[in-house]
């Protein structure tokens, strides 16, 4: 959990993924499309990957990846991200966290 929180606070937009997860690819692409440059951390390539996955699950993230953090705060999984994007909240969150400017 500490490692998760630590990594999540290092950049305005942080996404935890797995290299084999294609939904993670979708969400990451969405962020690129919006002009945010998220920090992407692949759990399966991280020595502490397993514990991190457990930590993400305990935050309520199901499935555990993709797990999105904006401004250090946990936003949710793909379902949450899509819902927030549709009602315009995602852009606002990114702007507030200075991940994007317009």
């Amino acid at each position: 959990m500490d490692r998760v929180k630590d990594l999540a606070s290092k950049k305005a937009a942080v996404i935890f993924t797995k290299s084999s997860c294609c939904m993670c690819h979708s969400i990451t692409q969405l962020f690129y499309e919006l002009g945010a440059s998220p920090a992407v951390h692949e759990l399966d390539n991280d020595p502490y990957g397993r514990q991190m996955e457990w930590a993400l699950r305990s935050l309520g993230c199901n499935p555990s990846v993709p797990a999105v953090f904006i401004g250090g705060k946990f936003v949710g999984s793909s379902k949450d991200v899509i819902s927030l994007h549709v009602d315009g909240s995602l852009k606002q969150l990114l702007m507030d966290a200075k991940a994007i400017w317009f």
């Binding site: 997860c21 294609c22 979708s26 692409q29 969405l30 899509i82 819902s83 994007h85 549709v86 009602d87």
Partner: protein, 456 residues
């Protein structure tokens, strides 16, 4: 084979008509035949906006897809069985073989063809009402004569084919395994191969029985086959039925909304109906979620939708961004704020769609890579088998993620509808929902017209 003979017997226009008759057959099964066939025909010939009654033709396409699904499988198996064997019975005395030869193996398909042809003929007769309403009365008598002639020709062809097959069987069975041209072929020596043929034949029989049952019951099929097959078959069929029911209910709600709008009902009343419609949309997304677990490929295939709708299919449903584009013009006048809102919504849904599409592409690529990586190891056969199994396991895992994509695609659709409702006024929302429904019901009517079109 049943499928080929069916096409043989009728020229293509009749084939099409028989598809239409599939529709009508299902309609007859589902309720009042006269009313329904009139409804169907009124859909196909009425110009301008299509105002549909309670049944939006979907009970028909439910049956059609299930019929076609079964008949396709039936014909594939029939082809496999017929093209590879003349003797299936591995042993037994000639007496039995002669007798049983008639009941077993491919002649069974002959028998079912008999029933088939009779069925078709019945449907042909039944089809007159559909054909008559849809075309000129002057064509009616001409059609009748043509069909009678075609039927007679079909029956003659059928009889000739049967007698040819019968001769072949008698020749074969008389000499049993002594017939050199069969025994000398390496394959017939292999008991495993013969076993395979046997099981194919059994499968064929099972499918024929399923088809019979489907024709009688029209909707549910309880498969006595292996569990996995029956599960997925049931999942697909169950969803088709639920979807048909959902469409009927939606039609009813939309009619209620239209009546309220035309009678200048109050905003409160409109809001009540609209909330009902939106909740009803929630229902179908929930049903799709369940169906995605049971049979994701059925949803992705779009076989539960009509052909024209299927043309526009994206991840198992409609594209929200396209829908919004169509609506913008119809919703005027919009305030500045509303216009911005709708434009943003359109852009957001487009972006989300693109993101999901890219994820799907990545999945396809990944799957292809997994399946195409050769197991070129210098290790022994056991190593290769382990490799193969490993690759298959990985591929299975990837397929499992398809459900997630459909789920998010539906989530996107649901969110878009709700956000649209939030941006618009009550009256605008009402017009939007009516416009959406009209668009899709025109697509469905277009599918009916297309399927019933005359061809030569």
């Amino acid at each position: 084979m049943p499928e080929a003979s069916r096409v043989d017997s009728f020229c293509l226009s009749d084939f099409d008509q028989s598809i239409g008759n599939h529709l009508e057959n299902a309609v007859e099964l589902s309720g009042n035949p006269v009313n329904n066939s009139l409804k169907v025909s009124s859909q196909t010939i009425s110009p301008g906006p299509v105002h549909l009654g309670t049944s939006d033709r979907l009970p028909i396409s439910v049956d059609r897809s299930s019929f076609m699904y079964l008949e396709d499988r039936l014909s594939l198996l029939a082809q496999k069985v017929q093209s590879t064997n003349h003797i299936i019975i591995p042993s037994g005395d000639t007496e039995n073989q002669e007798g049983s030869a008639m009941a077993d193996a491919s002649p069974r398909t002959d028998i079912s063809t008999d029933a088939d042809t009779d069925d078709k003929n019945q449907r042909f007769d039944g089809s007159q009402s559909l054909a008559a309403v849809a075309s000129d009365s002057s064509d009616r008598s001409k059609d009748k004569t043509d069909q009678k002639t075609l039927r007679r020709l079909a029956q003659n062809r059928e009889a000739a084919r049967k007698s040819r097959l019968r001769k072949k069987f008698l020749q074969g069975s008389r000499s049993g395994y002594g017939n050199s041209s069969f025994v000398s072929s390496g394959r017939m020596q292999n008991p495993a191969y013969v076993q395979q043929l046997e099981s194919s034949r059994l499968k064929l029989t099972q499918l024929e029985q399923e088809l019979q049952r489907a024709r009688q019951q029209g909707i549910f099929i309880s498969s006595s086959g292996d569990q996995a097959h029956s599960m997925s078959g049931n999942g697909a069929m169950q969803f088709d039925v639920e979807y048909a029911r959902w469409l009927e209910e939606q039609n009813r709600q939309i009619n209620e909304l239209r009546a309220a709008v035309n009678s200048h009902a109050s905003d409160t009343e409109l809001r009540m109906i609209i909330d009902g419609i939106l909740a009803h949309y929630d229902d179908i997304f929930r049903l799709k979620g369940v169906a995605a677990k049971a049979d994701v490929f059925h949803l992705l295939s779009g076989m539960w939708k009509t052909p024209a709708e299927r043309c526009f299919l994206w991840l198992g449903g409609f594209r929200s961004s396209e829908l919004l584009k169509l609506l913008v013009n119809q919703l005027e006048p919009l305030t500045e704020q509303q216009l911005v809102g709708i434009t943003n919504l359109q852009q957001s849904s487009q972006q989300a769609e693109d993101a999901l599409s890219q994820g799907m592409e990545a999945l396809q690529q990944s799957l292809a890579e997994t399946l195409s990586s050769g197991s070129l190891g210098s290790s022994g056969s056991s190593g290769n088998v382990a490799n193969y199994m490993g690759q298959m396991a990985m591929a299975m895992g990837k397929l499992g993620t398809l459900e997630g994509f459909i789920r998010q695609a539906d989530n996107l659709r649901q969110q878009t509808l709700q956000q649209m409702h939030r941006i618009l006024t009550t009256r605008q929302s009402a017009r939007a929902l009516l416009a959406i429904h009209d668009y899709f019901s025109r697509l469905r009517a277009l599918s009916s017209l297309w399927l019933a079109r005359p061809r030569d």
